[in-house]
């Protein structure tokens, strides 16, 4: 009866994949209305991530404000100001390179920061713990850690 699928991780990966893929799709597509639609899906997946984290209020606010308000406004603007039914925004190759450099450097900085925060990483393996544990645990609490019992 082992956990072949951990549904918590499955849904996290699903929502994260949807958010990332459709965010990339917003950049890559050339049809303006489809861009707005992909943004809806990306922000909706972000709301799903909030729900998974247990933040119901924030997730409902994300849906109401971003998806229900901002994106309705965006789609209205896009539909009413587009000159032809399927206006197309082609990105030149020079702009691609510049965007890749800027976006890639920002991505690198964010990933490095996210990995580098000690509180956000998994705890160190147990073999390494007792070296720091006794001083940290018994410093102010007076409790004897399990290894010393």
């Amino acid at each position: 009866m082992d956990e072949v699928i951990n549904w918590q991780s499955f849904f996290f990966l699903l929502f994260a994949a949807v958010a990332c893929v459709f965010a990339v799709a917003v950049v890559v597509t050339s049809n303006v209305v489809r861009m707005a639609f992909y943004l809806i899906l990306s922000l909706g997946a972000t709301a799903g991530l909030f729900f998974l984290a247990g933040a119901d209020f924030v997730a409902a606010m994300q849906l109401m404000i971003y998806v229900g308000g901002t994106l309705v406004l965006l789609i209205f603007g896009v539909m009413l100001t587009a000159q032809s039914p399927f206006i197309s925004l082609k990105t030149h190759s020079g702009e691609w390179i510049l965007a890749a450099i800027l976006g890639g450097s920002l991505l690198a900085v964010l990933i490095q920061t996210a990995i580098g925060v000690p509180d956000w990483t998994l705890p160190a393996p147990v073999a390494a713990a007792p070296a720091e544990a006794p001083e940290a645990d018994t410093a102010g609490t007076g409790r004897v850690p399990a290894q010393l019992v």
Binding site: M1, D2, W7, Q8, L52, G54, D56, A60, V72, M79
Partner: protein, 442 residues
Amino acid sequence: MVQEGSFAVAEYLAQWLPSWLAYLLVGLIQTQLLLLIPFVGAMTFVWMERKVSARIQDRLGPTRVGGQFGWLQLLADGIKLLNKEDVRPNDADALLFRLAPYISFTASYAALLALPFSNGWVVQHLNTGVFFILAVLGLEVFGVILAGYASASKWSLFGAMREAAQVVSYEVPLGMCVVVPVMIAGTMDLVKIGNEQAGWFWNWYLFHDPFTFIIFWVYFTCATASVNRAPFDLAEAESELVAGFHTEYSGFRWLAFYMAEYGSMFIVSGLAAILFFGGWNGPIPIAHLLGWTAPDAHPFLHWLGNLLGMFNLVAKGVLGVTFMIWVRWTLPRLRIDQVMTTCLKYCTPIAAVMFLGAAVWTLYFPGGVLGIRSRPYGAVAENEELRPVAPAASAPTPTGEPTATPARTAQRVRGDAGSPEVARASDIESSAARVVGNSGGE
């Protein structure tokens, strides 16, 4: 209650199936049960619309199919819609055209996740249930906008624009109307709002003060507008725009739009029932008078009382939908400028003034003017208590493996405070103890 019950069922199934498959099956069963409401409800409301509109227009409606009342007409309609040819305009944006009906349907269905059908009988017990339902119902407009745009037809585009303007504008007074019962109850949790109105019908928030009474009618007007029912149905205006945003849709795609519309009608009616009409509490507290709600009554009687409550709520929702159908075939359609005038010049100021009045009333007359409320406002009932912290199924597990993921446990701890019956908690523990094979009865 449903969440603990579903965990207990999943743990029971996990004895024979892999644990992940057991949870998947339980989740699928719950979603399928909830899918019955748009599917069956939509077809039933379509039949009801035909009969009610026929009677209002002094004719009979469907009488031949299926015997007495033409009740099989709904089945015939469903089969007809499934058999239609799947057409798409040549200039239509293929992806958005195909996707639009399902966006509407998904938004309408997702709002059912937070709507309680009885005390504790809710798929996701959110403590911000009201907010979630309003947020998700506002997403239905995307299906309409995309349908209108992607159909590459001017009729569709006009209908979609009007509808989007209307829905988005009416969200403001709708929110203000919903805030009044939330303010009186002191919580956004729909289960608690329903429980606050337990007892006789004078406990209902509709009769709480005259401002809330008027707010209910404003809510109903705004809710009718936000689900695009007549007299606010110029998005589908049959005599003006062919069929508005769903002109180019036929067959099952049209059915998806209509399931979304009737599902939303049921949701706003159910929300009105919980906020103003006591939800699952009937006008006469039959289950309470019979002693079914006592903490030491048999758990089956608790369940039976909850079932009676569910019938109450569904009946109130259906009455709300019937009222909407009645209003549709009585009043003429409004123009778009009249719709916006009604929203901005009438509904919003009235809602604001009534909100102020209800706030003042709650502040200065907390026990009610006539003092006939059986419970003071905002007080926690004497038999309400916090749920046990861990799922009871995981506590006595002999194998010691974690049966519920930590985040899920934490979520249930945060969200599930306030189940009223003491006996229910012990009932779960005893059933879980039987499930995992510990020493039998308790």
